[in-house]
Symmetry: C2
Subunit: 191 residues, 2 copies
């Protein structure tokens, strides 16, 4: 499915506000893809579709990723914020005909991150955090870093997410910590 | 080896300041063992010996836990703060004749923590953080919690350690995050 058709079909799945966010992520991802020489079209599609499952009910998310849910702990199983990424991957493939593994993986990892992320995965993860409609504390710094050094932006965003979750005494996915450690090693090696 | 003999032999391994800290952990661990009905003698021995390897050279630590080091990543392999707990377990068994698996495990886990910790492991982890000579930010609150609810103290200490490491852009062991998540689940279930 091409971008125009995805833009037409996507509002069947998500709210109007979410649509604005997804368009923002698409545009930011396109800019970052240009800057860091990634595939612009893949970045746009992954950006558009990353939150395709975000407004589903929990039961729908669980149903979409039933095989995967079996291996998750009780907390994650009931957490829409964590499940929507897995469910989104399934919907992107099933309903939007996306077969490209890189795009699907970028959708799947956009919330938690993971170790050894691909350039496209990093671009979607960062774009989701910094797209123009985002306005939380620290977003300006993340935005600035994103356009100067992608790994430094990743490190800053991981730290911000982790500290935020810990302050609020919330569950933290191991994937997010592994992503943080992994980028830390990449950044430190470069220094 | 009984406590008196350990106290005599321990200064061959650690500095004078460290010895004071270990005596402090022993005393605090004894108090917490009384309060939470753990084995007081085991708590004292684990408290005394937890830092037995803390003042060794890196090469000595690596040599003591060579089998384990093989499976560690490059960062942990060069990190005395992380290695001394594993090396300490080996020394406690080899040089102090400790055979009790609970004591050895409490020594091994005192720095990183882990999921599903035993009562003794929790007592040593908490005592290490709050013993009377400790004076960093947040220690008073941790101390107060330790004497009212051990799991709440664990949660507070995990959060403090994790936020501190993230603020300083340092590597974070997955075991520590797993310990945090594990205690979070325990505390939330009780509520």
């Amino acid at each position: 499915m091409n971008i125009e058709n995805i833009v037409k079909k996507l509002p069947e799945y998500i709210t109007e506000d979410r649509m604005k966010h997804c368009i923002g992520v698409m545009k930011t991802a396109a800019e970052l893809a240009e800057k860091y020489k990634a595939d612009r079209r893949k970045a746009e599609i992954a950006g558009l579709l990353h939150d395709v499952a975000r407004d589903l009910e929990l039961a729908q998310m669980v149903s979409l990723c039933a095989d995967r849910v079996k291996n998750l702990n009780d907390y994650v199983k009931q957490n829409k914020l964590l499940l929507h990424s897995y469910a989104g991957r399934v919907l992107a493939e099933r309903d939007f005909g996306i077969r490209d593994k890189e795009i699907l993986s970028a959708i799947e990892k956009h919330t938690t991150g993971s170790n050894n992320m691909s350039l496209l995965e990093k671009i979607i993860f960062v774009s989701d955090y910094i797209e123009p409609s985002r306005s939380f504390r620290g977003v300006k710094k993340a935005r600035k870093l994103a356009y100067s050094d992608l790994n430094s932006a990743m490190l800053y965003i991981y730290r911000s997410i982790l500290i935020h979750l810990l302050r609020e005494v919330r569950y933290v996915c191991v994937e997010t910590l592994e992503g943080y450690n992994s980028i830390l090693m990449e950044v430190k090696k470069v220094e």
